[in-house]
Symmetry: C2
Subunit: 202 residues, 2 copies
DNA sequence: GTCTATATCGGGATAGAC
DNA sequence: GTCTATCCCGATATAGAC
Protein backbone atom coordinates (compact mmCIF):
# COMPACT_ATOMS: atom_id res chain seq x y z
CA UNK A 1 0.00 0.00 0.00
CA UNK A 2 1.93 2.98 -1.29
CA UNK A 3 1.29 6.44 0.06
CA UNK A 4 1.24 8.57 -3.08
CA UNK A 5 0.07 8.33 -6.67
CA UNK A 6 -1.80 5.10 -6.34
CA UNK A 7 -4.09 4.66 -9.32
CA UNK A 8 -7.21 5.32 -7.27
CA UNK A 9 -5.74 8.64 -6.19
CA UNK A 10 -4.79 9.63 -9.70
CA UNK A 11 -8.32 8.90 -10.86
CA UNK A 12 -9.94 10.92 -8.10
CA UNK A 13 -7.69 13.88 -8.76
CA UNK A 14 -8.40 13.75 -12.47
CA UNK A 15 -12.11 13.37 -11.84
CA UNK A 16 -12.07 16.33 -9.48
CA UNK A 17 -10.40 18.51 -12.06
CA UNK A 18 -12.69 17.55 -14.93
CA UNK A 19 -15.96 17.50 -12.97
CA UNK A 20 -15.16 20.83 -11.32
CA UNK A 21 -14.65 22.42 -14.68
CA UNK A 22 -17.37 20.78 -16.74
CA UNK A 23 -19.99 19.61 -14.26
CA UNK A 24 -21.65 16.20 -14.21
CA UNK A 25 -23.25 16.31 -17.65
CA UNK A 26 -20.44 18.23 -19.32
CA UNK A 27 -17.64 15.90 -18.24
CA UNK A 28 -16.69 12.84 -20.29
CA UNK A 29 -15.17 9.69 -18.90
CA UNK A 30 -12.64 9.81 -21.71
CA UNK A 31 -11.45 13.22 -20.53
CA UNK A 32 -11.02 11.95 -17.01
CA UNK A 33 -9.08 8.93 -18.24
CA UNK A 34 -6.83 11.12 -20.37
CA UNK A 35 -6.24 13.50 -17.48
CA UNK A 36 -5.31 10.56 -15.24
CA UNK A 37 -3.11 9.10 -17.95
CA UNK A 38 -4.88 5.74 -17.92
CA UNK A 39 -7.45 3.77 -19.84
CA UNK A 40 -11.18 4.45 -19.82
CA UNK A 41 -11.96 0.91 -18.67
CA UNK A 42 -9.90 1.44 -15.53
CA UNK A 43 -12.34 4.06 -14.35
CA UNK A 44 -15.08 1.47 -14.29
CA UNK A 45 -12.82 -1.09 -12.72
CA UNK A 46 -12.08 1.11 -9.69
CA UNK A 47 -15.31 3.07 -9.50
CA UNK A 48 -18.29 1.34 -10.97
CA UNK A 49 -19.96 4.22 -12.81
CA UNK A 50 -19.73 7.88 -13.69
CA UNK A 51 -22.35 8.64 -11.06
CA UNK A 52 -20.40 6.88 -8.34
CA UNK A 53 -17.27 8.76 -9.24
CA UNK A 54 -19.10 12.03 -9.36
CA UNK A 55 -20.67 11.35 -6.00
CA UNK A 56 -17.27 11.01 -4.38
CA UNK A 57 -16.01 14.26 -5.87
CA UNK A 58 -19.15 16.11 -4.89
CA UNK A 59 -19.07 14.86 -1.30
CA UNK A 60 -15.46 15.97 -0.96
CA UNK A 61 -16.34 19.37 -2.39
CA UNK A 62 -19.31 19.94 -0.11
CA UNK A 63 -17.15 18.95 2.83
CA UNK A 64 -14.49 21.40 1.82
CA UNK A 65 -16.94 24.26 1.51
CA UNK A 66 -18.41 23.49 4.89
CA UNK A 67 -14.98 23.55 6.46
CA UNK A 68 -14.45 26.98 5.00
CA UNK A 69 -17.75 28.24 6.33
CA UNK A 70 -16.77 26.81 9.67
CA UNK A 71 -13.50 28.65 9.57
CA UNK A 72 -15.41 31.84 8.89
CA UNK A 73 -17.85 31.65 11.76
CA UNK A 74 -16.17 29.61 14.48
CA UNK A 75 -13.33 30.39 16.84
CA UNK A 76 -13.44 32.68 19.85
CA UNK A 77 -11.80 35.87 18.64
CA UNK A 78 -13.29 39.29 19.24
CA UNK A 79 -15.60 40.37 16.44
CA UNK A 80 -13.41 42.72 14.40
CA UNK A 81 -10.50 40.32 14.45
CA UNK A 82 -12.80 37.39 13.75
CA UNK A 83 -14.23 39.08 10.68
CA UNK A 84 -10.77 40.02 9.46
CA UNK A 85 -9.43 36.49 9.82
CA UNK A 86 -12.61 34.98 8.37
CA UNK A 87 -12.46 37.02 5.20
CA UNK A 88 -8.75 36.38 4.87
CA UNK A 89 -9.02 32.61 5.29
CA UNK A 90 -12.00 32.34 3.03
CA UNK A 91 -10.54 34.25 0.10
CA UNK A 92 -7.20 32.50 0.45
CA UNK A 93 -8.89 29.10 0.54
CA UNK A 94 -10.98 29.64 -2.55
CA UNK A 95 -8.03 31.09 -4.44
CA UNK A 96 -6.46 27.65 -4.25
CA UNK A 97 -9.55 26.02 -5.71
CA UNK A 98 -11.42 28.69 -7.62
CA UNK A 99 -13.90 26.42 -9.39
CA UNK A 100 -15.21 24.90 -6.17
CA UNK A 101 -17.99 27.40 -5.42
CA UNK A 102 -19.52 27.39 -8.89
CA UNK A 103 -19.34 23.61 -8.99
CA UNK A 104 -21.14 23.18 -5.68
CA UNK A 105 -23.76 25.85 -6.36
CA UNK A 106 -24.48 24.30 -9.72
CA UNK A 107 -25.07 20.83 -8.47
CA UNK A 108 -27.13 22.16 -5.59
CA UNK A 109 -29.40 23.85 -8.06
CA UNK A 110 -29.64 20.72 -10.20
CA UNK A 111 -30.60 18.53 -7.29
CA UNK A 112 -31.60 20.61 -4.27
CA UNK A 113 -32.97 17.84 -2.08
CA UNK A 114 -30.12 15.38 -2.30
CA UNK A 115 -27.47 17.98 -1.62
CA UNK A 116 -29.31 20.01 0.95
CA UNK A 117 -29.66 16.87 3.03
CA UNK A 118 -26.00 16.17 2.67
CA UNK A 119 -25.15 19.63 3.90
CA UNK A 120 -27.44 19.48 6.90
CA UNK A 121 -26.37 16.02 7.99
CA UNK A 122 -22.67 16.81 7.67
CA UNK A 123 -20.72 16.39 10.91
CA UNK A 124 -18.88 19.65 10.39
CA UNK A 125 -21.91 21.81 9.84
CA UNK A 126 -20.87 25.35 10.73
CA UNK A 127 -21.69 26.93 14.05
CA UNK A 128 -23.88 29.75 12.82
CA UNK A 129 -25.61 30.32 16.15
CA UNK A 130 -22.41 31.22 17.94
CA UNK A 131 -21.55 33.95 15.49
CA UNK A 132 -25.09 35.32 15.49
CA UNK A 133 -25.04 35.38 19.29
CA UNK A 134 -21.77 37.27 19.31
CA UNK A 135 -23.28 39.87 16.97
CA UNK A 136 -26.40 40.27 19.06
CA UNK A 137 -24.33 40.86 22.19
CA UNK A 138 -22.38 43.61 20.47
CA UNK A 139 -25.62 45.23 19.37
CA UNK A 140 -27.04 45.07 22.89
CA UNK A 141 -23.91 46.67 24.29
CA UNK A 142 -24.22 49.38 21.67
CA UNK A 143 -20.81 48.76 20.11
CA UNK A 144 -22.49 47.60 16.87
CA UNK A 145 -25.29 49.04 14.81
CA UNK A 146 -28.35 46.78 14.92
CA UNK A 147 -28.70 44.62 11.82
CA UNK A 148 -30.17 41.23 10.99
CA UNK A 149 -27.35 38.71 11.68
CA UNK A 150 -28.48 36.41 8.89
CA UNK A 151 -28.45 39.20 6.32
CA UNK A 152 -25.01 40.16 7.53
CA UNK A 153 -23.55 36.67 7.35
CA UNK A 154 -24.87 36.15 3.85
CA UNK A 155 -23.43 39.50 2.82
CA UNK A 156 -19.95 38.65 4.03
CA UNK A 157 -20.00 35.33 2.22
CA UNK A 158 -21.41 36.98 -0.91
CA UNK A 159 -18.61 39.50 -1.09
CA UNK A 160 -15.96 36.81 -0.68
CA UNK A 161 -17.33 34.24 -3.11
CA UNK A 162 -18.99 36.19 -5.89
CA UNK A 163 -15.85 37.63 -7.51
CA UNK A 164 -14.62 34.09 -8.11
CA UNK A 165 -17.91 33.10 -9.72
CA UNK A 166 -17.79 36.09 -12.02
CA UNK A 167 -14.03 36.06 -12.54
CA UNK A 168 -13.95 35.77 -16.36
CA UNK A 169 -16.57 38.49 -16.63
CA UNK A 170 -14.73 40.85 -14.31
CA UNK A 171 -11.50 40.18 -16.14
CA UNK A 172 -13.16 41.11 -19.42
CA UNK A 173 -14.90 44.20 -18.10
CA UNK A 174 -11.88 45.63 -16.30
CA UNK A 175 -9.32 44.08 -18.66
CA UNK A 176 -7.22 42.41 -15.99
CA UNK A 177 -5.15 39.26 -16.44
CA UNK A 178 -4.73 36.37 -14.01
CA UNK A 179 -1.95 37.82 -11.83
CA UNK A 180 -3.79 41.12 -11.60
CA UNK A 181 -6.90 39.27 -10.51
CA UNK A 182 -5.03 37.66 -7.65
CA UNK A 183 -3.79 41.10 -6.65
CA UNK A 184 -7.32 42.39 -6.78
CA UNK A 185 -8.48 39.63 -4.44
CA UNK A 186 -5.63 40.38 -2.05
CA UNK A 187 -6.76 43.99 -1.87
CA UNK A 188 -10.28 42.74 -1.48
CA UNK A 189 -9.45 41.07 1.82
CA UNK A 190 -8.75 44.49 3.29
CA UNK A 191 -11.63 46.18 1.51
CA UNK A 192 -14.30 43.74 2.65
CA UNK A 193 -13.09 43.74 6.24
CA UNK A 194 -13.04 47.53 6.41
CA UNK A 195 -16.33 47.77 4.57
CA UNK A 196 -18.13 45.47 6.98
CA UNK A 197 -16.65 46.99 10.11
CA UNK A 198 -17.51 50.49 8.93
CA UNK A 199 -21.03 49.43 8.08
CA UNK A 200 -21.44 48.09 11.61
CA UNK A 201 -20.38 51.32 13.34
CA UNK A 202 -23.30 52.49 15.49
CA UNK B 1 -47.79 37.16 -39.22
CA UNK B 2 -49.43 36.76 -35.87
CA UNK B 3 -48.16 38.66 -32.85
CA UNK B 4 -48.17 36.01 -30.13
CA UNK B 5 -47.53 32.32 -29.75
CA UNK B 6 -46.03 31.74 -33.14
CA UNK B 7 -44.21 28.42 -33.17
CA UNK B 8 -40.79 30.07 -33.21
CA UNK B 9 -41.72 31.97 -30.08
CA UNK B 10 -42.96 28.87 -28.29
CA UNK B 11 -39.72 27.11 -29.10
CA UNK B 12 -37.55 29.93 -27.84
CA UNK B 13 -39.51 30.20 -24.63
CA UNK B 14 -39.29 26.47 -24.05
CA UNK B 15 -35.58 26.46 -24.88
CA UNK B 16 -34.99 29.33 -22.50
CA UNK B 17 -36.70 27.50 -19.68
CA UNK B 18 -34.90 24.18 -20.22
CA UNK B 19 -31.44 25.61 -20.99
CA UNK B 20 -31.63 27.97 -18.02
CA UNK B 21 -32.33 25.10 -15.70
CA UNK B 22 -30.10 22.40 -17.14
CA UNK B 23 -27.37 24.20 -19.05
CA UNK B 24 -26.15 23.33 -22.54
CA UNK B 25 -24.97 19.79 -21.87
CA UNK B 26 -27.72 18.94 -19.37
CA UNK B 27 -30.63 19.94 -21.61
CA UNK B 28 -32.19 17.49 -24.08
CA UNK B 29 -33.90 18.46 -27.31
CA UNK B 30 -36.74 16.12 -26.37
CA UNK B 31 -37.35 18.10 -23.18
CA UNK B 32 -37.48 21.33 -25.12
CA UNK B 33 -39.91 19.84 -27.63
CA UNK B 34 -42.14 18.55 -24.83
CA UNK B 35 -42.06 21.89 -23.06
CA UNK B 36 -43.05 23.64 -26.30
CA UNK B 37 -45.74 21.06 -26.97
CA UNK B 38 -44.41 20.19 -30.39
CA UNK B 39 -42.38 17.56 -32.17
CA UNK B 40 -38.66 17.12 -31.84
CA UNK B 41 -38.12 17.46 -35.58
CA UNK B 42 -39.65 20.92 -35.52
CA UNK B 43 -36.79 22.20 -33.45
CA UNK B 44 -34.41 21.37 -36.25
CA UNK B 45 -36.74 22.74 -38.86
CA UNK B 46 -36.81 26.20 -37.28
CA UNK B 47 -33.35 26.28 -35.72
CA UNK B 48 -30.80 24.09 -37.36
CA UNK B 49 -29.07 22.61 -34.35
CA UNK B 50 -28.96 22.49 -30.59
CA UNK B 51 -25.96 24.80 -30.61
CA UNK B 52 -27.75 27.38 -32.74
CA UNK B 53 -30.74 27.33 -30.42
CA UNK B 54 -28.55 27.61 -27.37
CA UNK B 55 -26.69 30.50 -28.86
CA UNK B 56 -29.89 32.50 -29.25
CA UNK B 57 -30.95 31.85 -25.67
CA UNK B 58 -27.51 32.74 -24.35
CA UNK B 59 -27.32 35.98 -26.30
CA UNK B 60 -30.70 37.01 -24.96
CA UNK B 61 -29.63 36.19 -21.43
CA UNK B 62 -26.37 38.12 -21.63
CA UNK B 63 -28.30 41.05 -22.98
CA UNK B 64 -30.76 40.89 -20.15
CA UNK B 65 -28.04 40.84 -17.52
CA UNK B 66 -26.32 43.80 -19.12
CA UNK B 67 -29.56 45.76 -19.05
CA UNK B 68 -29.82 45.07 -15.34
CA UNK B 69 -26.27 46.21 -14.72
CA UNK B 70 -27.08 49.28 -16.69
CA UNK B 71 -30.10 49.95 -14.55
CA UNK B 72 -27.89 49.67 -11.49
CA UNK B 73 -25.24 52.16 -12.51
CA UNK B 74 -26.88 54.60 -14.90
CA UNK B 75 -29.36 57.41 -14.38
CA UNK B 76 -28.65 60.78 -12.80
CA UNK B 77 -30.00 60.48 -9.28
CA UNK B 78 -28.06 61.54 -6.21
CA UNK B 79 -25.91 58.75 -4.83
CA UNK B 80 -27.98 57.50 -1.89
CA UNK B 81 -31.16 57.44 -3.93
CA UNK B 82 -29.33 55.88 -6.87
CA UNK B 83 -28.02 53.06 -4.75
CA UNK B 84 -31.43 52.48 -3.23
CA UNK B 85 -33.15 52.30 -6.60
CA UNK B 86 -30.36 50.22 -8.10
CA UNK B 87 -30.56 47.54 -5.43
CA UNK B 88 -34.33 47.55 -5.60
CA UNK B 89 -34.49 47.20 -9.37
CA UNK B 90 -31.81 44.57 -9.48
CA UNK B 91 -33.32 42.28 -6.86
CA UNK B 92 -36.79 42.71 -8.30
CA UNK B 93 -35.54 41.92 -11.79
CA UNK B 94 -33.73 38.75 -10.84
CA UNK B 95 -36.66 37.58 -8.73
CA UNK B 96 -38.61 37.30 -11.95
CA UNK B 97 -35.92 35.17 -13.56
CA UNK B 98 -33.94 33.58 -10.74
CA UNK B 99 -31.97 31.11 -12.85
CA UNK B 100 -30.52 33.77 -15.12
CA UNK B 101 -27.38 34.63 -13.13
CA UNK B 102 -26.23 31.07 -12.56
CA UNK B 103 -26.89 30.25 -16.20
CA UNK B 104 -24.83 33.14 -17.49
CA UNK B 105 -21.98 32.70 -15.02
CA UNK B 106 -21.81 29.03 -15.89
CA UNK B 107 -21.53 29.49 -19.58
CA UNK B 108 -19.03 32.30 -19.12
CA UNK B 109 -16.82 29.95 -17.17
CA UNK B 110 -17.22 27.22 -19.78
CA UNK B 111 -16.23 29.50 -22.60
CA UNK B 112 -14.66 32.71 -21.32
CA UNK B 113 -13.39 34.11 -24.62
CA UNK B 114 -16.53 33.77 -26.70
CA UNK B 115 -18.75 35.28 -24.07
CA UNK B 116 -16.43 37.96 -22.82
CA UNK B 117 -16.25 39.32 -26.34
CA UNK B 118 -20.00 39.27 -26.58
CA UNK B 119 -20.28 41.27 -23.38
CA UNK B 120 -17.76 43.86 -24.39
CA UNK B 121 -19.15 44.38 -27.87
CA UNK B 122 -22.73 44.68 -26.64
CA UNK B 123 -24.37 48.01 -27.51
CA UNK B 124 -25.84 48.37 -24.03
CA UNK B 125 -22.63 47.90 -22.12
CA UNK B 126 -23.13 49.56 -18.75
CA UNK B 127 -21.82 53.02 -18.00
CA UNK B 128 -19.43 52.13 -15.23
CA UNK B 129 -17.32 55.25 -15.54
CA UNK B 130 -20.19 57.56 -14.71
CA UNK B 131 -20.94 55.82 -11.47
CA UNK B 132 -17.28 55.66 -10.49
CA UNK B 133 -16.94 59.37 -11.22
CA UNK B 134 -19.92 60.15 -9.04
CA UNK B 135 -18.35 58.21 -6.19
CA UNK B 136 -15.00 59.96 -6.55
CA UNK B 137 -16.67 63.35 -6.41
CA UNK B 138 -18.41 62.45 -3.18
CA UNK B 139 -15.13 61.29 -1.72
CA UNK B 140 -13.41 64.50 -2.74
CA UNK B 141 -16.13 66.59 -1.15
CA UNK B 142 -15.76 64.53 2.00
CA UNK B 143 -19.33 63.29 2.07
CA UNK B 144 -18.16 59.74 1.43
CA UNK B 145 -15.44 57.64 2.97
CA UNK B 146 -12.67 56.93 0.45
CA UNK B 147 -12.91 53.44 -1.06
CA UNK B 148 -11.98 51.78 -4.34
CA UNK B 149 -15.00 52.33 -6.64
CA UNK B 150 -14.45 49.02 -8.41
CA UNK B 151 -14.40 47.05 -5.16
CA UNK B 152 -17.56 48.85 -4.12
CA UNK B 153 -19.45 48.19 -7.34
CA UNK B 154 -18.57 44.51 -7.24
CA UNK B 155 -19.68 44.35 -3.63
CA UNK B 156 -23.10 45.79 -4.35
CA UNK B 157 -23.63 43.38 -7.20
CA UNK B 158 -22.36 40.48 -5.09
CA UNK B 159 -24.83 41.14 -2.32
CA UNK B 160 -27.74 41.35 -4.75
CA UNK B 161 -26.96 38.31 -6.87
CA UNK B 162 -25.35 35.78 -4.58
CA UNK B 163 -28.44 34.88 -2.53
CA UNK B 164 -30.16 33.76 -5.72
CA UNK B 165 -27.21 31.59 -6.68
CA UNK B 166 -27.18 29.94 -3.27
CA UNK B 167 -30.95 29.90 -2.81
CA UNK B 168 -31.44 26.14 -2.27
CA UNK B 169 -28.55 26.09 0.15
CA UNK B 170 -29.83 29.04 2.14
CA UNK B 171 -33.28 27.53 2.21
CA UNK B 172 -31.87 24.31 3.63
CA UNK B 173 -29.62 25.98 6.20
CA UNK B 174 -32.24 28.39 7.50
CA UNK B 175 -35.22 26.12 6.74
CA UNK B 176 -37.21 28.65 4.78
CA UNK B 177 -39.72 27.86 2.02
CA UNK B 178 -40.24 29.71 -1.25
CA UNK B 179 -42.58 32.46 0.00
CA UNK B 180 -40.31 33.09 2.98
CA UNK B 181 -37.37 33.40 0.63
CA UNK B 182 -39.13 36.11 -1.34
CA UNK B 183 -39.83 37.90 1.92
CA UNK B 184 -36.18 37.59 2.82
CA UNK B 185 -35.15 39.18 -0.46
CA UNK B 186 -37.63 42.01 0.06
CA UNK B 187 -36.05 42.75 3.43
CA UNK B 188 -32.67 42.44 1.77
CA UNK B 189 -33.37 45.43 -0.47
CA UNK B 190 -33.50 47.61 2.62
CA UNK B 191 -30.63 45.84 4.34
CA UNK B 192 -28.15 46.14 1.46
CA UNK B 193 -29.00 49.78 0.85
CA UNK B 194 -28.56 50.71 4.51
CA UNK B 195 -25.47 48.55 4.77
CA UNK B 196 -23.72 50.23 1.85
CA UNK B 197 -24.68 53.75 2.83
CA UNK B 198 -23.52 53.18 6.39
CA UNK B 199 -20.25 51.70 5.19
CA UNK B 200 -19.66 54.84 3.12
CA UNK B 201 -20.12 57.28 6.01
CA UNK B 202 -16.87 59.23 6.40
C1' DG C 1 -45.33 23.23 -41.77
C1' DT C 2 -45.98 19.06 -39.26
C1' DC C 3 -45.52 14.43 -38.45
C1' DT C 4 -43.14 9.31 -38.17
C1' DA C 5 -39.40 6.70 -38.96
C1' DT C 6 -34.73 6.20 -39.19
C1' DA C 7 -29.88 7.27 -39.75
C1' DT C 8 -25.83 8.56 -37.19
C1' DC C 9 -22.96 9.44 -33.51
C1' DG C 10 -21.02 10.00 -29.05
C1' DG C 11 -20.23 8.25 -24.77
C1' DG C 12 -21.03 5.09 -20.72
C1' DA C 13 -20.39 0.45 -19.68
C1' DT C 14 -18.90 -4.53 -20.27
C1' DA C 15 -16.38 -8.77 -22.09
C1' DG C 16 -12.52 -11.08 -22.34
C1' DA C 17 -7.55 -11.63 -23.55
C1' DC C 18 -3.26 -11.02 -21.33
C1' DG D 1 -4.65 -4.85 -12.74
C1' DT D 2 -4.38 -3.29 -17.38
C1' DC D 3 -5.45 -3.28 -22.04
C1' DT D 4 -8.47 -3.62 -26.75
C1' DA D 5 -12.54 -4.33 -28.75
C1' DT D 6 -17.23 -4.07 -28.54
C1' DC D 7 -21.83 -3.53 -26.93
C1' DC D 8 -25.61 -0.61 -26.16
C1' DC D 9 -28.34 3.22 -25.30
C1' DG D 10 -29.63 7.87 -25.46
C1' DA D 11 -29.64 11.94 -27.98
C1' DT D 12 -28.86 14.82 -32.16
C1' DA D 13 -30.00 15.14 -36.60
C1' DT D 14 -32.15 13.99 -41.17
C1' DA D 15 -35.31 11.78 -44.74
C1' DG D 16 -39.42 11.66 -46.58
C1' DA D 17 -44.55 11.04 -46.46
C1' DC D 18 -48.52 13.87 -45.87
Amino acid sequence: MQTTNTTEQQIIEAARKIFMHRGLTGARMQDIADEAGINKAMLHYYYRSKDKLFDIVLTEAVDQMLSRLNAVFSGDLELPEKIRSAVDNYITGISENPFLPLFVLNEINQNPHRIAERFLSAPNFPNIRGFAQQLLEGMEKGTLRKVDPVQLMISIISMCIFPFLAKPLLQAVFTIDDPAFLGFMEERKVFVTEFVLNALRP
